[in-house]
Symmetry: C2
Subunit: 276 residues, 2 copies
Amino acid sequence: MKEYKTEEEFLKDYDSSMFEKLSMTADILIISISNEEVSNYRKNANKRMSVLLVKREDYPYKGKWCLPGGFLNPKEETLEECAKRILKKETNLSNIYLEQLYTFDGVKRDPRMRVVSTAFVALVDKAKLTEKVENASWFDVISLEEKNNLVTMVLKNENETIHFKIQKVLREKTTDRYQFISKENNSLAFDHNLVILTGIERIRSKINYTDIVFNLLPEFFTLKELQQVYEVILNKKLLDPAFRRIIADKVEKTEQRKTGEGHRPSYLFRYKKYEK
Amino acid sequence: MKEYKTEEEFLKDYDSSMFEKLSMTADILIISISNEEVSNYRKNANKRMSVLLVKREDYPYKGKWCLPGGFLNPKEETLEECAKRILKKETNLSNIYLEQLYTFDGVKRDPRMRVVSTAFVALVDKAKLTEKVENASWFDVISLEEKNNLVTMVLKNENETIHFKIQKVLREKTTDRYQFISKENNSLAFDHNLVILTGIERIRSKINYTDIVFNLLPEFFTLKELQQVYEVILNKKLLDPAFRRIIADKVEKTEQRKTGEGHRPSYLFRYKKYEK
DNA sequence: CCAATAGTGTCTGTGAGACAGTATAAG
DNA sequence: CTTATACTGTCTCACAGACACTATTGG
């Protein structure tokens, strides 16, 4: 930021530029859960977090992957409406869990001009997706590790592997807030690597005191599936009895079971809303 | 949002308006802790949350109170830098705890034109403030209650009382996310009543798993003062022994004491950084 | 001595972590 | 019968909630 010697100088410059305008976009981190293929017919499928990326067809960052997003129409749209419009376009879904994440605003984040982006997180159940959208592809999070505040993340679709590293730097005045700095990034456009990490950490931090997980699952699910979703988001194994105690109030048992699995069938549960 | 019949119609309109630009502002909810006056010389001062408001001198909302804020200079400033500039102007302080809160973007939130505002929360220790800034005034939060998702809040400075009500409406697709709708609001400009509530709830939700409280206190403080800050933010009384156990690792005792209080003097403590 | 607060000891109940055990489908 | 998972019983330990008790100042 430019430094000013006198207030007059500052105000002069300020007045001339403060009413200059800028563009905004809404970018969406669409998260869902995917199942790994299994060799052994008896085994349960492992689950993975999955994010939807779009291949850029134009400059800047032509050929790189980015989050679905689009420019805000300032005349009649809120950012959330803009995000919903993009969500509809990319997944053909509406009535999806959508949460404002963070506003990314680095001065040079778009090389063309100043563009401030408000990022959203959407949680979807993959089973609800029907059509395949051109240029869009689901990438599984196949690795997400943190060592000494350096986060390494690997994403993968059928053909490509994306990997990037982000350094979390402690900021002044707090012990618990981090600034994210991109260290390596082979194929993501803009600052979307930072958006992805921010979004995953947001979901992770909320999973234990909210009911957002259920947005990632179909109406009926087994407790093990539910547990796997928790595990994949928290990136750690949970103990069965403890897990079942914790979520007991949030679900209700049905009489249906999941059979044909080569082992004892599990009961299907559903989300029990509005219960303390 | 306008509805379109065909994609062509949509795209035509979209193309013509998507590159229209808008203005952004950074607004800051500056929170500190104030002490009530005490009659009895023996008694400890009660603490209150306090927010800095500015009287609007121009239209729109002339004469109403609003949060300190200002337009983003799109050429060279990030929103955070903009917030810091305003913070410096309003409090003459730098190196202050500052956190991006939320981006408020209702289409009609500013009657003049489309203005999207990214709100920040700043936590300051009132003792560090020296000069009094013109048109700015600290308002104490003298009441903050929630009943049936209706929040009632009362702010007060030496001369004026501000009160407003906000309805928290459950949103579709989740059980834990609320939309805030302004119900009554006698003297706050724009949507700044929503910003204040959002900010207080953010701080409240973070106080138990972060160390942000210490930004509201001077370097040396008694454990009771620390506890009072927790109590005022959480809006409930805490038990002494439990509280002391919880914060034991976060503070270190000094040999200094706070005397002249008409009762047993308490030891002064300081924040112990970087300890698990 | 009194009023008011500072600070600590300890009981109790809850609930997570841990591990072991029993149950049941497909092949 | 085997394999793999489903599901439950129960012990232990940590820790928050609660209450009572002692300590210490200014006036």
